[in-house]
Symmetry: C2
Subunit: 133 residues, 2 copies
């Protein structure tokens, strides 16, 4: 796989996540994940498996992040072994109202693995970027 | 590889990192990483490659985290593909003095890949656990 191929796969996955987030659709967000995915969120909380990722995001889309839009910016995509693609991306989240109102920035690492015909997110870890960083 | 083998490899890597941290030895901390490792820290900052990880940690060991001790607690270790081992662990950091004084908690994801005879950290991502989480 060429570096361009790896970037294209990562971009496609980020675009799926972005569309799902911006539609407030937790189920669609979860579909990008492997059934047994490991997820660590910006508060350091753990979520295990596609269904937990979907439900956790739906709860946020319905409350704290209602009406929010996210924009991912791929920074790096590379194969670390055959079948393991690592993507690192920035995320800008714009929330219209409530306690999280405003724009916040995060950086994520995702590990994608082949799942039948497509690539799925097997591992996802997210960290808020410090405001003075 | 059995789940017990994966856990043993992850535990060994965490023990190396723990010993290096507690000795305040940035170079020894960096040795556990692959030459081209990707690292995202708890402030969302990026560090690329073993040398940057070593230098960045030495700077912290000499200042903000001087005299600190870390203790890792492995939560999960699993192979996501042949040759890619994912470890998720909690970290408790005890800093004796200065602006970071006290105990703080974080959660990390590390992806280990075989590097010659040993396993190296190819990807590392760390998030502070929210105090009310």
């Amino acid at each position: 796989m060429t570096p361009a191929d790896a970037s294209a796969i990562a971009e496609e996955t980020l675009a799926r996540l972005e569309r799902a987030w911006n539609a407030g659709d937790g189920t669609a967000f979860g579909v990008a994940f492997a059934d047994d995915a490991d997820f660590v969120d910006i508060r350091g909380g753990r979520h295990r498996g596609r269904d937990a990722v979907a439900a956790g995001h739906q709860a946020l889309f319905d409350t704290l992040y209602a009406g929010s839009t996210v924009r991912y910016q791929l920074e790096t995509a590379r194969m670390i072994t055959p079948g393991s693609l690592v993507a690192i991306a920035g995320a800008a989240l714009d929330t219209p109202a409530g306690p999280a109102a405003g724009i916040s920035h995060a950086r994520l690492t995702a590990v994608l693995t082949p799942d039948d015909e497509a690539w799925s997110v097997a591992v996802f870890h997210n960290t808020r970027v410090a405001s003075d960083a």
